[in-house]
Structures are given as structure tokens and as C-alpha cells.
């Protein structure tokens, strides 16, 4: 069987869910005729028609608001942000309307908001955002960050079937770089479950999205030094999978969090709070984090490389921690 890219896996999820349920519609800028800036929705217009694949004006607030309204009317809209950076333009609709709707008014918002996030492709300061923490900090949302093609497909299916607003961040660095054999037929990956990608006893490396691969590569290098790192893929950031995280720390007693998002206020903080408050006695060393710098994402390759985490930085931090 041919291998399926991360991008193609997302496209398949959209196809299959739209085939399964006529309540699923897609809207966004250039998603129809063009098939989306990254071609994630290529072929959807041809198959499902313009009523279900809707090219919109450039109006993120309008689009997200309309998706909420469609959800109220019983549809399951999927919204594409052309680049996730532009989610800042509909921040109010997401945080004040979609997120609060069920709690306040008992009105579920079965909307998926998806789009390409992340750096490493020299997209510069306005096409490389990792905005997950803005939404992890907003009660009422779910936040999903898949790293594998399997998860991308299975989690998007779960997101579409979920009655709550789900932010689905697709790491654009992975779109065409990650390829896997996917099983035939329908499968879903539950939201809210992390997974151990590599077992180890010396320390836990928590990570997600593109940084999972950086972490795995670091773990492979560390092994050569005799350091056995356990690598966990968070997959969902909200709700966090406390159990998997705590169980791993209970085994390894050391924790390193790796995220591409900027440092201050990143998810490493929330995890540090979670672990120190719930498993303090399990810790045999400081919680470390390897993250991007606290700056906008710079454009030049030399700058962006310096800005981003990389294998060397992860190895160095893990080594220090293992020897602590």
C-alpha cells in the first residue's frame, strides 16, 4: 500500500467525514476552487459541490461566526484558516462566543477550526505561528496538535464528531515530510489521550507536533550515550492527559518538555504546575524545557534555526537532566 502523507491523511479525514455525514461542510478562503493554500481540500469541491465547500471572503471573524451559526442549526462545519496566524483576527468569536456557548447557554458548538501552524519553513513572522496556548487557556475549547498521519486523520475525525469547538493545528512542516501506511477503513483517535512513542526509564521527554520528531531523534542519540529517554506525544493539549504524563514521570522521575511555541507562558509551564502539584515526590530533578525563544519568529534561516528548538538543544538538556 502506498504511504499516506500527513497532509493527505487530513484530506482523507475530510473526505470520509463528508461522505459519511451531510451535516459536515467546509468553509474558508480559497478552499473550494483552489483546494486550499496547501491543497488540503483539493478535490472536495468536485466531490461535494459548492454548497458544502464554501469559498468565503477574507473575513476570519465572519467565517468563524458563520460556522458557529451553522453549528447552532445542527451542521458540523469545518473552518480552514489559510494560515493559523490569522486566527488572531477571529479571537473574539472563538473565545467569547464559541468557547462560552455551551457553558452559558447550553448551546453546543460542533465546529472544527483547522489550519497550518508552525515554523521551520522560513515562513517568517506572520506565517509560522504556534498559537495553541491562547486556546489552551480558554475554557470550553479543545486543542489538538497531531504529529503523525494516523493521528492527524483519526483526531480530525474525532474533532468533527465532537460537539465542542475543537482547534486542530496542523504543523505545516509535517504536511509532506511525514508519510505512513494507514489502515483501511474508518478509524478515530480519541481527543484527550497522549501516547508513549518510545519507552525509557531515565527521563521523560514530553512533546507534540513537529517537536516530537526532534525529541525522538534526540532520544536515539541519547541512547548511544546510555540514556534511555521515554518520549511522549501529547497529541491533545486541552484537555491534557494527566494520567499518561504522571504515570511516565512516576517511572522516570525526570521531566523535560519540548515545544516549538515560545517559552514564557508555553505549555511547559502548565505541565510543570501539574507535575509539581500532583507528583512532587516523584521528581528527582528539576523540570526542564527546551522551547523557542521569546521573540517573534524571525525570517532568515540562521535566525530561525537559532530561534527554534533542535536535536542538539534537546540532547544537551536531557543529558544534563539525566545526570542530575
Amino acid at each position: 500500500m502506498a504511504e499516506t502523507t500527513y497532509l493527505e491523511a487530513i484530506r482523507q479525514a475530510l473526505f470520509e467525514e463528508m461522505d459519511r455525514d451531510p451535516a459536515v461542510v467546509l468553509l474558508g478562503e480559497d478552499v473550494g476552487v483552489y483546494g486550499g493554500a496547501f491543497k488540503v481540500s483539493a478535490g472536495l469541491l468536485e466531490r461535494f459541490g459548492w454548497e458544502r465547500v464554501i469559498d468565503t471572503p477574507i473575513s476570519e471573524t465572519g467565517i468563524v461566526g458563520a460556522a458557529v451559526g451553522m453549528g447552532y442549526a445542527g451542521l458540523r462545519p469545518v473552518v480552514e484558516m489559510q494560515f493559523i496566524d490569522f486566527i488572531a483576527c477571529c479571537f473574539n468569536q472563538i473565545t467569547n462566543v464559541a468557547a462560552k456557548s455551551h457553558y452559558l447557554w447550553g448551546a453546543p458548538v460542533p465546529v472544527v477550526l483547522r489550519g497550518p501552524c508552525g515554523g521551520g519553513v522560513h515562513g517568517g513572522p506572520f506565517h509560522s505561528a504556534n498559537p495553541e496556548m491562547y486556546f489552551v487557556h480558554t475554557p470550553g475549547l479543545k486543542v489538538v496538535c497531531p504529529a503523525t498521519a494516523y493521528d492527524a486523520k483519526g483526531l480530525l475525525k474525532s474533532a468533527i464528531r465532537d460537539n465542542n469547538p475543537v482547534l486542530f493545528f496542523e504543523h505545516k512542516f509535517l504536511y509532506r515530510r511525514i508519510k505512513e501506511d494507514l489502515p483501511e477503513g474508518d478509524f478515530a483517535v480519541p481527543i484527550g489521550k497522549a501516547v508513549v512513542r518510545r519507552q525509557g526509564r531515565d527521563l521523560t521527554i514530553l512533546s507534540y507536533a513537529a517537536m516530537l520528531y526532534t525529541s525522538l531523534e534526540a532520544a536515539a542519540q541519547l541512547e548511544k550515550e546510555g540514556i534511555r529517554a521515554e518520549v511522549i506525544d501529547l497529541r491533545t493539549l486541552l484537555p491534557l492527559d494527566r494520567d499518561t504524563i504522571l504515570a511516565s514521570v512516576a517511572r522516570t522521575n525526570k521531566l523535560l518538555v519540548v515545544h516549538e511555541d515560545t517559552r514564557t507562558g508555553g505549555i511547559a509551564g502548565e505541565i510543570a504546575a501539574l507535575v509539581t502539584e500532583s507528583a512532587f515526590e516523584d521528581l528527582d530533578g528539576p523540570i526542564r524545557r527546551v522551547t523557542s525563544l521569546d521573540t517573534p519568529v524571525p525570517y532568515a534561516e540562521s535566525l530561525e534555526n537559532y530561534f527554534l528548538p533542535n536535536v542538539a538543544k534537546v540532547v544537551a538538556a536531557a543529558r544534563e537532566l539525566a545526570h542530575y
Binding site: 471573524t61 465572519g62 461566526g65 451559526g69 442549526a73 445542527g74 467569547n96 470550553g140
Partner: protein, 397 residues
């Protein structure tokens, strides 16, 4: 002008107008007794807008009221007790005390979307409702309101523009009550008529005397019919006046007394009473009955609200997510097969132009409307050769 409503409808309009007024008067009393939490906003002087517009809708249609549209909620079937328990933060309220004021809705039966406090939010949301309604074959109209001040928000623009691009069945009432808090309209936008906002979207608009419930109802009915017929969104500017402060805390000294005096003469209730009398649609006895009915309804509901418990504290922790407590189900009024492959396939929807050189996807499968491809063509004025290029989109990539 000849009457277009029956006597019963006229009396019903009066009932709602007066219920709106009396309910808010009652709430002002409760506010002074500290029984209402947070702020209290008044629609005194604007009741004809809420009541007249909502009255023009059919049962399957949708509304999303703003804070001064309690009248619309009443027309839509909510009871004074709903409004009272909300404002008094009781467990029996539509939101069980989680939200206040007119922030409540009912997606399943009354088709009411809850407002937020953020001005403009509802316009894209109701556009989505209208788009979904068309997709589901429901033939429904979505109506919402916005203040003069709220028309300056980005959400207003994006929502209404999207509705226009999609020819969504949205009726937007711009309630021009001359003030946005302390700011007069002229400081918000140099437009004489806010109906002019519609021109940015190439959509229909109308201006109506917002203190004349019959004129409002008529204008709204026409707009609703246009929207339902697939002619796209309609904007109605209702000219009216906020007769109280922005909310109870605001004595509104910035409003000139002369202005209030002028508008007091145009009170929508007084005027409608005179209208009813002039047209012999009621007599003193009928009026007395309506007044008595309203008084007793409000009395009963105030009692109900006051006797209602406050929510149990632990409720605060519940309900952030829908975990199956609500169903998400669309009310299909057309065969689902129409939108499923192979029938949903885009191919039949591509329009081949006579000239053959361009093909543009249409917006509506029902033939209700189509976007003319040449609208986007350039017609530079200073050049000789007239140019008719047509934007298009090819199916093949």
C-alpha cells in the same frame, strides 16, 4: 394606508409593546431594590422596534436579540418569568443563573440565539444560521439587531459582507437610537442615514420610523419576504431614541433635555394607542383587559422569580463541555441525497457562459440567485475600450 394586519394582530402588537414596557418598568423597580445583579438596560422608547420587527417573522425563523430587544424575546414566546429570573440570576432562569440580562436562547423550539455582550458578534452567527437554513432546505430567515454604535465594529462588516456574498437570508435591524452610550451618531460616522451602511455590500436597505410599530412591522415583513425569496440580506434602519441612560447607572446628562422632550412626544405606545383608537380597533374595555392581563402576568412572574432559588454553587463547575448532554441534529427539509455524492457533485453547478470563455460557480442550487460573473469585471472610466472581463474559476486544476 390600508391596514394589513387583523384586529387581533393589532391588539397582540399592543399587548407585546405594553408588556415590554411594563416588564422593564418592573425590572427598574427590582433593580432599585437590589434584586437585579449587574447592569440593567432599558429599551424605553424603542419597544416598537423590537416588537414590530420580531412580529414579522414566521415560526421557523430565527432571531438573535441584543440587550434592548426584550420585546423580541416576548414576541418569540419567552415569558416575563424567563426575563425576570435571568436578571435576578435564579436557578430557574434559562441559563440557570450562569448568564444574565437577555443572554439566553433556545435553539430547538423558539429558534433564538443568545447574544453576547460583545457588539457585532451576532451578525456573522446569524449569517451562518441563514446559510445553514438554505443548505437544509428550510426556507428560513435569520433576524438580528445592532445599535448605531455597533455598526462600527469589524464583526458588523465581516458578517454583513459575508451574508451579501452568500446572499444569505439575513434581516439586520440597525436600531439607531441616536446614542452609543455617551457618543452621538455623528461622532461615530459621518452618515446622515445609517441605512447607507448597506451600500458597501450592494444589498437592499430601508429606513423606517422606529417609533411607529405599524411602519416597523410593515418594513420588516417586506424585508423578511425579500430575504426569504433569496434576494439576499436586507438592512433596515429604524430611527428611534434611547429615552433613558445607557444603563441604570447612567443619568445621561449628556443628552439635551430638548431632545428627550421632542422624542417623548413620539412615544411608540402613546402613538399606537391613538392609532388603535383612530382606527376603531379597540375600546376602553379592551384596553383595560389587556392592561389587567399584563399586570397579572407580571405580578405572577415576579412572584415566581422572587421565590425561585439561586443556583447551587457547584453548578459553577459544570457544563463547560457538551458530553452528550445535547444533541446536534439538523432539521433536514430536503433530501440529504441532494448534497451527497454523486448528486452533490459540483459539475452540474458550473455555469458555462454563452461566450464559452468563462465558467463561474453559482451560489445557489435552487436557482434562487446567481452571482453575475461580470460584476467583477473592470470598467475603467478613463479608457476608451470598454472591457468586460469575467472572473472565473475552472473546475480543473
Amino acid at each position: 394606508m390600508a391596514l394589513t394586519l387583523t384586529r387581533e394582530q393589532h391588539l397582540e402588537l399592543y399587548y407585546f409593546l405594553r408588556l415590554n414596557r411594563e416588564l422593564e418598568d418592573q425590572m427598574a423597580r427590582l433593580f432599585r431594590q437590589n434584586k437585579i445583579l449587574g447592569g440593567l438596560y432599558s429599551s424605553r422608547g424603542q419597544e416598537a422596534v423590537s416588537v414590530g420587527t420580531a412580529y414579522a417573522l414566521g415560526p421557523g425563523d430565527w432571531i438573535a436579540p441584543m440587550i434592548r430587544n426584550i420585546g423580541a424575546l416576548l414576541v418569540r414566546g419567552f415569558k416575563p418569568r424567563d426575563v425576570l429570573t435571568q436578571h435576578m440570576a435564579r436557578f430557574t432562569s434559562p441559563t440557570q443563573g450562569k448568564d444574565g440580562t437577555s443572554h439566553f436562547g433556545d435553539l430547538k423550539v423558539r429558534h433564538v440565539v443568545s447574544p453576547t455582550s460583545v457588539l457585532g458578534d451576532l451578525i456573522p452567527v446569524m449569517t451562518g444560521i441563514a446559510m445553514a437554513g438554505r443548505y437544509l432546505g428550510q426556507n428560513v430567515v435569520a433576524m438580528t439587531w445592532i445599535g448605531d454604535g455597533g455598526t462600527s465594529t469589524g464583526a458588523f462588516h465581516e458578517g454583513l459582507n459575508l451574508a451579501a456574498a452568500q446572499k444569505a437570508a439575513l434581516v439586520l435591524i440597525v436600531e439607531n437610537n441616536q446614542w452609543a452610550y455617551s457618543t452621538p451618531v455623528a461622532r461615530q460616522v459621518p452618515l446622515r442615514d445609517l441605512a447607507g451602511r448597506a451600500r458597501a455590500y450592494g444589498i437592499e436597505s430601508a429606513i423606517v420610523d422606529g417609533n411607529d410599530v405599524i411602519a416597523v412591522e410593515r418594513a420588516a415583513r417586506k424585508a423578511v419576504a425579500q430575504a426569504r425569496a433569496g434576494q439576499g440580506p436586507v438592512l433596515i434602519e429604524a430611527k428611534t431614541m434611547r429615552m433613558m441612560g445607557h444603563a441604570q447607572h447612567d443619568s445621561a446628562e449628556y443628552v439635551p433635555k430638548e431632545m428627550l422632550a421632542l422624542w417623548k412626544q413620539r412615544d411608540p405606545l402613546d402613538r399606537f394607542e391613538k392609532f388603535l383608537t383612530r382606527n376603531r380597533l379597540w375600546d376602553a374595555k379592551t384596553k383595560k383587559e389587556i392592561v389587567a392581563r399584563i399586570a397579572s402576568e407580571i405580578r405572577a412572574d415576579v412572584e415566581y422569580a422572587e421565590n425561585s432559588p439561586f443556583p447551587p454553587a457547584e453548578l459553577a463547575a459544570q457544563g463547560v463541555y457538551c458530553e452528550g448532554c445535547h444533541t446536534v441534529e439538523a432539521d433536514w427539509k430536503r433530501p440529504k441525497q441532494e448534497v451527497m455524492p454523486p448528486r452533490s457533485n459540483v459539475k452540474p453547478e458550473w455555469r458555462i457562459r454563452a461566450s464559452g470563455e468563462t465558467k463561474a460557480p453559482r451560489h445557489s442550487v435552487h436557482g434562487v440567485h446567481s452571482v453575475k460573473g461580470d460584476q467583477a469585471g473592470a470598467k475603467p472610466k478613463s479608457q476608451g475600450k470598454s472591457l468586460r472581463s469575467r472572473p472565473s474559476a475552472k473546475a480543473e486544476r
